[in-house]
């Protein structure tokens, strides 16, 4: 079965500094990977995805993520953090049904990002 792990419960970074939120996965076959963000008292918003193609994926709000097959990682990054980036971030991988990636989304535990002025 597929799984995804976010090893950090919380990440603290100063505004203007680069940020990284870590995600590792375990899959059989090629992974379909996603990042979501949840602001307080809001639903989840899609940020970016990796299905195939370039290992560096760019998404909304200046975020990007790097797919690394050898390290089974899909870390979320941003070159310069903003206070408004403070939120709860979830990594997800799509489960497989047979040989196709059409199963449910499996989410990590979430990482709280705190950006301080």
């Amino acid at each position: 079965a597929q799984s995804v792990a976010q090893p950090e419960d919380q990440v603290n970074v100063a505004e203007g500094n680069p940020l990284t939120v870590k995600c590792t996965y375990s899959v059989s076959g090629n992974p379909y990977l996603f990042w979501y963000v949840q602001y307080p008292n809001r639903g989840l918003q899609f940020l970016l995805k990796y299905i195939t193609g370039d290992n560096l994926v760019k998404g909304s709000y200046g975020f990007e993520a790097e797919f690394n097959k050898s390290q089974t990682s899909f870390h979320l990054k941003k070159p310069s953090a903003l206070v408004s980036d403070s939120a709860l971030y979830f990594c997800a991988v799509r489960d497989t049904i047979g040989s196709s990636n059409t199963g449910k989304l499996i989410f990590g535990q979430g990482t709280t990002l705190q950006v301080k002025p």
């Binding site: 639903g43 995805k49 049904i97 059409t102 199963g103 449910k104 989304l105």
Partner: protein
């Protein structure tokens, strides 16, 4: 509508009562998901519908929980004989097959 719509947005119910939560997915989306989230916590998978395939019910916590999706569109999650531990935000999402899922704003269920 443009996005996933859930109703009601808030529901307070007495312990032991049944509740129904509704999800209107994005038109044309073949996949529909239900998750629940306790305060500040992660997402707990409940059930997944994909096209005409049998739903993945592996996340339903007990037989008090059930869900259906009528006509491949609207879905209803039913919780019978609610318990206090059922209090959570119930999130619905939809997607085109294996693409990214889009989430509704959720239904906050409080069992008193």
């Amino acid at each position: 509508g443009a996005g996933v719509s859930q109703s009601p947005s808030n529901k307070v119910t007495e312990k032991g009562k049944d509740v129904e939560l509704r999800c209107d997915p994005i038109s044309g989306h073949t996949a529909l998901y239900w998750y629940r989230q306790s305060l500040g916590q992660g997402l707990e998978f409940l059930i997944y519908f994909q096209g005409n395939s049998a739903p993945d019910k592996s996340g339903l916590p007990s037989d008090r929980f059930s869900a259906e999706r009528t006509g491949g569109s609207v879905s209803t999650l039913t919780i019978q004989r609610t318990q206090q531990e059922d209090s959570a935000v119930y999130l619905c999402a939809s997607s085109l097959a294996w693409q990214e899922a889009f989430f509704g704003q959720g239904t906050r269920l409080t069992v008193v």
